[in-house]
């Protein structure tokens, strides 16, 4: 149940590192997300505001309590390209944005592990907040990623494992 890496598609980086150059850091990570490093990387002298969003594994989901683990899989290459499209679309909408990171975890996660991190830096906080919100909303709508949940039972209900509820159709990134 690991991500499938079709011929010519990069597999998820095990330990994502900041890009050697450029203002955009997009990655899939099979290792725990380097959230501290992402937040630090985002900050540059002209930036007065950095917004970091972390989506992390909750101990519950709609209709399920006692969630203990999640497994994420991605259609790796296309997922990375969609994440890059999201970053580009955010820059078109908020041109003042400086550094921008979108990093999504794949593989097996425990409760409180970070599943996705978005960081946006900009001179002013309006842009950073709005662009970060746009990025996470659009990543969730457009990136081919699936999540399988595992939960424990109790006296009233058995434990189990199944795909996430509330699934929705993949959308395209609006230009």
């Amino acid at each position: 149940m690991t991500g499938t890496a079709p011929a010519g598609q990069p597999a998820p980086t095990r330990e994502p590192a900041p890009p050697a150059q450029g203002n955009t850091w997009v990655a899939l990570s099979a290792a725990p997300l380097p959230v501290d490093e992402i937040a630090r990387w985002a900050k540059e002298p002209p930036s007065g505001a950095v917004v970091l969003f972390c989506g992390c594994v909750r101990d519950h989901s709609p209709g399920r309590t006692g969630v203990v683990a999640l497994e994420y899989e991605a259609y790796d290459g296309p997922a990375l390209r969609r994440m890059e499209e999201v970053a580009d679309a955010a820059r078109r909408r908020w041109p003042a944005v400086g550094r921008l990171a979108i990093v999504h975890r794949v593989g097996l996660l425990q409760v409180s592990d970070d599943a996705v991190a978005v960081a946006v830096a900009s001179p002013h906080r309006d842009d950073a907040f709005e662009a970060a919100r746009y990025c996470i909303d659009t990543v969730k709508a457009t990136v081919p990623l699936w999540k399988r949940e595992r939960w424990t039972g109790d006296a009233d209900s058995p434990g189990g494992e199944d795909w996430g509820t509330c699934a929705h159709d993949l959308e395209a990134v609006e230009p």
Binding site: M1, T4, P6, A7, Q9, G55, Y72, E73, A74, Y75, G77, P78, R81, H104, A115, V116, I136, V139, K140, V143, P144, L145, W146, K147, R148, W163, G164, T165, C166, A167, H168, D169, L170, A172
Partner: protein, 79 residues
Amino acid sequence: MPRVLLFGPARDVAGGASRTDLAGATVKDVLADGSARYGPVFADLCHHAQVWVNGEPADEATAVGDADEVALLPPVSGG
């Protein structure tokens, strides 16, 4: 035969395989071959899933050949 990638719930209706080979010269044919092989649950999933060819959204009429990668993408629950 095009390589077919099955993601998320799509694997459940194909015996757990994450990739398979199905015959067909168009996306429609490929899906029909999958339905013949894996049964009505597979056919039903196809109605709700998107099909991408070589990493880009495609439709039923898209022509596919041996070098192509067809991916079956059910609704996502990521994030």
